[in-house]
């Protein structure tokens, strides 16, 4: 009986370890950052191709708008998480901020592309380049 109890206690401890809220938040944040980096990369590649006259406007806008939808979903899912500790709150805030910045930049790109405002498109492409690298680093914070 005692032995069973000990086993259950150990199991619970292990499970609790897996469910460490700080680690969990970091894992979810990193996953979201990687998905966001994917959307940012796609939008940048499509916009750059349009600037290089390798893509006509309809597909370029379509691809950027798809990326916008995709990052929108990622951000909404992540924002719905519930931080349980002060530490996980800090993680939550920093990832949430990065996601929403990326989302805004892609939206700006889509608007510029639709208006055929190539100067802004070029600026946004540079912005997204930096953002992509930043998201990539955030994505590598956890497995």
């Amino acid at each position: 009986m005692l032995r069973t109890l000990a086993l259950v206690a150990t199991l619970l401890a292990v499970l609790a370890g897996c469910g460490d809220p700080d680690q969990k938040m970091l894992t979810e944040g990193a996953r979201a950052a990687r998905d966001a980096a994917s959307a940012v990369g796609t939008a940048r590649l499509a916009a750059q191709s349009a600037l290089d006259h390798k893509l006509w406007n309809a597909p370029a806008t379509q691809m950027v708008s798809d990326a916008e939808k995709s990052i929108g979903k990622v951000a909404t899912t992540f924002d719905a998480l519930q931080p349980k500790t002060g530490h996980s709150r800090a993680t939550y805030d920093s990832y949430s901020k990065a996601l929403s910045t990326a989302q805004d930049e892609i939206t700006d790109l889509r608007i510029a592309l639709t208006n055929n405002d190539l100067g802004t498109v070029a600026d946004q492409v540079t912005q997204l380049q930096t953002l992509g690298q930043q998201l990539h680093r955030l994505g590598e914070q956890a497995k």
Binding site: D35, T42, W56, A58, D66
Partner: protein, 409 residues
């Protein structure tokens, strides 16, 4: 000379017809996530579909009976019905994905939402089935599908580090954030994409539509043994493009736009235009094949008149099934479900359903009652049995892996 032309045409058609929305999406997706580390699965899948299609083609040529007719004969009414339901549902799901693919190709080209294109695509599929001769529809879309070779040109133009790609091929293990579970899940998806069951229902029914006999066996084998492997190379080129462009950038493939973007990056507007026509032909051709296959499977199980070799009114139930399936496809797609997601699921379910139709064909291909002297040889049977094992393994592992990986996440 005429014979040579017919054989060449058949092979070209088989290459173009090999790739459909499942191959496009799955290969692009896997290339972006795993590079060429799953390339071996495409090879295994192509050998598998060659075995399966050659056996079915031979069975048709020798007995004059298509696959699903014989499946009920071998499995009996009850087990046959189970095989029918599983195969039919997978084929219907594939049809939905193909029509979604046609609509997405038009959306990319025009910028007009795919939901508006989708009913038009479904109606066009029906019209072609209703009015166009079997041999024409197979040839036209198969040959247009050859335009997808532009993926191979794009890969070459992207100037990849070939040594690195080769390294990925020879190191078939998951890296980065991927685990063995996601690796195995996508291995099954790729396998299912290469060996989609409808290909064999269509191929074998096509044999009856075009009245194959013993004399056509050579042509049939050339189509299968040359056409499918070359189609498999196309699949690898698609994976290669995304492996070069997306894997280092951490881009995951979620849309048809992302599947086609590498050709624009490599070859510009012309490249994209060609690939869009190719994608349209491949998905529209496959939509025709899956819609017909929905009719073939049900009508052949119940023994109803089927086929395009008779006038539509003579095969009225067969045509009714096709109309209902197309209407169902429109309804499902109208729920705004993502056609790319439907595709991802359809290839995994395809892998699950395969043993149910593969086993009876293997049994019949060994039955001298049907085959005369053209039963399977020893080497062929040895290979076919290995594949039976592989198919069973993939079929059993598919659902647990889908649950554990949350469909590959």
């Amino acid at each position: 000379m005429k014979k040579l032309l017919a054989v060449t045409l058949g092979i070209l058609t088989a290459i173009g017809g090999f790739v459909d929305i499942g191959d496009l999406v799955t290969n692009a997706l896997v290339g972006a996530r795993f590079g060429m580390r799953l390339a071996w699965v495409v090879v295994v899948g192509v050998i598998g579909i060659c075995l399966y299609a050659e056996m079915s083609g031979r069975v048709v040529a020798m007995s004059g009976r298509p696959v699903f007719d014989l499946i009920r004969e071998r499995l009996g009414r009850r087990t046959g019905l189970f095989a029918l339901i599983a195969s039919f549902l997978v084929t219907l799901l594939t049809l939905i994905a193909e029509i979604g693919g046609v609509a997405l190709a038009f959306e990319l080209a025009s910028g007009v939402n795919y939901l508006l294109w989708m009913p038009l695509a479904a109606i066009a599929v029906w019209l072609v089935i209703w009015r166009v001769k079997f041999s024409h529809l197979e040839k036209v879309f198969g040959l247009l599908g050859l335009l997808l070779i532009v993926f191979a040109v794009a890969l070459w133009k992207l100037g990849p580090n070939w040594g690195q790609l080769a390294h990925q091929v020879t190191h078939p293990v998951p890296t980065g954030h991927e685990t063995w579970l996601t690796y195995a899940y996508y291995a099954i998806a790729l396998f299912g994409a290469a060996m989609t069951p409808y290909e064999v229902f269509f191929f074998s029914s096509g044999g009856v539509e075009e009245k194959w006999s013993r004399n056509d066996l050579g042509t049939e084998r050339a189509n299968v043994y040359l056409g499918f492997p070359l189609g498999g190379l196309l699949s690898l080129a698609i994976a290669g493009c995304t492996a070069v462009l997306y894997l280092p950038a951490g881009i995951k493939v979620e849309t048809l736009g992302q599947v086609t973007l590498p050709t624009a990056v490599a070859l510009g507007k012309l490249g994209l235009a060609i690939v869009l026509v190719g994608v349209f032909a491949a998905t529209f051709g496959a939509a025709l094949e899956t819609a017909l296959s929905c009719g073939y499977t049900i009508a052949q199980y119940f023994g109803w008149q089927w086929g395009k070799f008779v006038r539509p009114r003579q095969a009225s139930r067969f045509h009714l099934i096709i109309v209902i399936c197309l209407a169902l496809s429109i309804l499902v797609l109208l729920t705004a479900v993502d056609p790319v997601k439907v595709t991802e699921y359809s290839v995994v379910f395809a892998a699950m359903a395969l043993p149910l139709t593969y086993l009876p064909i293997l049994i019949i291909a060994n039955d001298p009652d049907y085959m005369g002297e053209s039963t399977n040889g020893r080497v062929l049977n040895f290979l076919a049995l290995i594949y039976l094992g592989l198919l069973l393994l993939a079929s059993i592992a598919a659902i647990p892996l889908m649950i554990v990986t949350k469909a590959g996440q």
